[in-house]
Symmetry: C2
Subunit: 347 residues, 2 copies
DNA sequence: TTGTAGGCGTTATCAA
DNA sequence: TTGATAACGCCTACAA
């Protein structure tokens, strides 16, 4: 009953004694044939087990696939562990599903740097995060297809962003309004190193357009505004937004003298790790230690104590990016998603 | 410098004054031409901005794409919120990245049920969870391509599973060994309803092969073995593994009389919700209430108190499924991933 | 070692 | 309203 090879449009055409064009039209252009014939063809196809045109062939012919690519900075496996990325991808998927598009996750730095040509498949791309020297990114650009960037800007493409400086400045000020005087900053991707470590004085003054840098600058600006200071040795670099890495940094920060009483974390995952280490060390939050995060991931509000953080609307960013990409007009609008200070119990 | 249309193999061939076959061979079959020529071609292509054969065309021609599809039960957006799915996908991605394959997430019940023909693209499929009457699943089967099923069995395909009965039985017994006598079960997908609700006595005896049923049966068996009993009205149905839904069920369970002192949760997310509601109601865990979960998601160990649960190795399941799929031999092995009781503080 | 040519499954143009 | 036909970009016998 069922052959080994899937049916092709051509085979179906010959079985039904009509031309291939007619079958094709039955599926794609209802107005090109009588309703009756179309009905008949469709139901016959159903019966035969032909479920419509082959994607590779159609994609080759039409130059479009119905697939949208999302280019991520790190390995896919990593992004599945990251709550922020998950919220973002959730937002994207919602919009894509509504529009009957498929989602293809692409990662630049996949261990195999071998070109697979996959970048030729998607009809458009969402680029999530800065992609310095990512060969796949270069190849995507070459495709001359619609692109939306998120969390960074390029003059050539529409983008979705938050005001990192303002958001970081606001929450840092909230912390500094409490009675704290000895601070630490637990930062993400501050420098190019895959080790958890403190940064040096020199590195403190590096100029860069990265998200992390904008936040760091805002933190420091807030600190200075409050007549406090922070030394480079009180600023930690965490390579990836991983709980275990964060925990190591948290441990270092909480066991060094003089005792800190305020910790600024560049992500909620980091702040969560601080909470955990603080508990292990019998440091009570917020009495002895104030902690602030960034992102507002779902776990933040269930933590003990619930985390004070800033909501960056990751899911909304995903939705907006997908909508902008699917938007026919393809304007080069720079979208700014508002952030919101979320005050809970950790500070 | 850069044209609007991407270069094609043919154009490159004519620019370089060699045949298309030679270019193709340079990319795909190094042994078919001199190393020198290959070097030259590759570097010229690089210079011209030709990054290798177009995927749609190659895929059409060769019948393979380098893409692996993962068919999920619910919407993509939902799966991105689900920690268990994320661990599973993480495992898959690790293996795929190592093997230079791309990951395409497919969801059966996407709002748009319109066939896109996407199922023709992947070279193989991982089917995650039972797919009753999912049209996309039917179409995938029609492709006659390698398939691995996870969390359910089919005589035709290799599968990756856990022993749900044994795992549930073991953890339920652990709970019942403590001094508990008034129980509630917070179950997942017990019946076909999208409302959080209790089940009825009739529904309790429904036979089904679903994961949830196997766990439920094991729970009940353990309860009876311990000379206790549980009424259908003490068993909740939660449609999706969502924190908010779980919270509602938890609230109902914890505010009904007689007071429960032991709650069996069919997922960690549910157990987390119970912890949160218990805290709101000033019920202390584990003193006044013992709680057990299922899955061992990362958040389980950071909860207050840390969750007693059973680790079902979701990530490992993903890895094994991907490996089985990529395995040339394509045996029909049924893999059983061992589970492990993880005793922490909630029980 | 390199080139020629047919076809993978569709769709769009054009003619009937 | 329907059918023939030429691409779409590539791969691979096979011929040179």
């Amino acid at each position: 009953m069922q052959s080994n090879k899937p049916l092709t449009l051509k085979k179906v055409a010959s079985i039904l004694n009509v031309s291939t064009a007619t079958i094709s039209n039955a599926f794609n252009r209802p107005d090109q044939l009588s309703a009756r014939l179309r009905e008949r063809i469709l139901s016959e196809c159903e019966r035969l087990g032909y479920h419509g045109p082959n994607l590779a062939a159609r994609s080759l012919r039409k130059g479009e696939s119905g697939v949208i690519g999302v280019l991520l900075t790190d390995s896919l496996a990593y992004h599945f562990t990251d709550a922020v990325a998950n919220q973002f991808l959730q937002g994207i998927s919602e919009v894509l599903e509504k529009n009957n598009k498929q989602l293809l996750m692409l990662s630049g730095c996949s261990s195999g740097q071998i070109a697979t040509g996959i970048e030729a498949l998607p009809d458009g791309f969402i680029i999530y995060g800065t992609q310095d020297h990512n060969p796949l990114f270069e190849r995507i650009i070459r495709q001359n297809k619609p692109i939306v960037t998120v969390d960074f800007d390029s003059p050539d493409y529409p983008s979705v962003n938050i005001d990192n400086h303002a958001a970081a400045f606001e929450i840092a000020n909230h912390l500094l309004a409490q009675s704290v005087d000895t601070l630490a900053i637990l930062g993400l991707r501050l420098i190019h190193s895959d080790r958890v470590c403190r940064i040096t004085q020199d590195e403190l003054y590096d100029q860069s357009e990265s998200v992390s840098r904008r936040r760091l600058d805002a933190y420091i600006e807030a600190i200075k505004n409050n007549n406090l200071d922070i030394d480079a040795e009180r600023i930690w670099h965490i390579p990836l937004n991983l709980y275990e890495q964060a925990k190591q940094a948290a441990k270092e920060a909480l066991t060094s003298l003089p005792r800190v009483n305020g910790i600024i974390c560049m992500s909620d995952t980091i702040a969560l790790a601080v909470l955990s280490v603080a508990q292990e060390l019998n440091i009570s939050v917020p009495q002895d230690l104030k902690v602030i995060g960034f992102d507002d991931i779902p776990e933040a509000k269930r933590a003990t104590p619930p985390l004070t953080t800033v909501c960056q609307g990751s899911k909304l960013k995903g939705q907006l990016a997908a909508e902008a990409l699917l938007d026919k007009h393809q304007n080069t609008t720079k979208l700014m998603v508002p952030t919101e200070l979320v005050i809970r119990k950790s500070c």
